[in-house]
Point group: C3
Chain length 122, copies 3
């Protein structure tokens, strides 16, 4: 049973990327391999703000926009909180189409809780 | 590793049902295949409100009430938030007893965050 | 598919321990097998309060402090909420080093939501 637990944790955790790596990428956005996708299914008035530099791409629409993505980049998706499934839905679509992709650990809630940079939603 | 990640995401996501399908069922509750179970382990004063039409069935009691459930229905369980384990506990009991069951994506927190219909807890 | 779902739920749920068992251990902390670790990566001013009797051990530092842990004890880790990955990171380190360890179901958010005992963060 411990082996199964460890395997599950290893696979689960590798779905995520830490906010440190995303923050690092914000310093030189033009040189960065990382593109942050805001996958919330909400209009910008409802979203209010977003992670600085994020590209809005609703999880419900992502399958129709895969040709706009760059296979050389690493995509980081986030939803409102870590307890929702939208980020994982988007992640599954990206991974099954061979994109490098991760979910942001802690989601937008965690990012804002640490007072990391946001901007008005696009 | 990518294959393992995709397999985990696929299995994890299929545990959940989207609020759209639950909302749809609320339009014609008498004809609906879906029954929403509020599995919070709390008295109704603490719960305050609940998803409209939900049946209260605390996760801690669900194993004793399986004979009240209808094998023809699809059960949708929810807890306060998506970050708790109560919904998954209830779901495991239902699935191991061959009921069709899902956890509500986003849980009560997400439902209320989208201003979907609630009523006083029963 | 149902078998895969059940297997995932079983393995996932066994990662967690319920607040009841932790509460029980607080009654006789000197006799208890359980040690609660607050694995939040934050200074105590930011943490504010913590679960009563918890030992602060930031997830980012835990790998360097394994020699301070007792292999006879059961470690219960918690982070701010259940939607973050810090608890699971700490848990993976503990389990891979053969410690008995669980994540607290509901995390600090759930504990406080039930008005269970807290104290100023250490």
């Amino acid at each position: 049973m411990e082996t199964k637990k460890i395997e599950l944790l290893e696979t689960y955790l590798i779905l995520y990327i830490d906010h440190f790596k995303v923050l690092e990428s914000l310093k030189n956005p033009d040189d960065s391999d990382i593109v942050v996708l805001d996958v919330r299914n909400a209009p910008k008035q409802v979203k209010g703000d977003q992670i600085k530099g994020a590209v809005p791409m609703a999880a419900k629409d992502i399958a129709d926009h895969l040709d706009e993505l760059n296979p050389e980049k690493t995509y980081v998706v986030y939803d409102w909180t870590g307890g929702t499934t939208l980020g994982k839905n988007a992640l599954l679509i990206l991974l099954t189409h061979n994109f490098k992709a991760f979910e942001l650990a802690g989601a937008l809630e965690g990012w804002k809780g640490m007072n990391l940079p946001v901007e008005p939603a696009k």
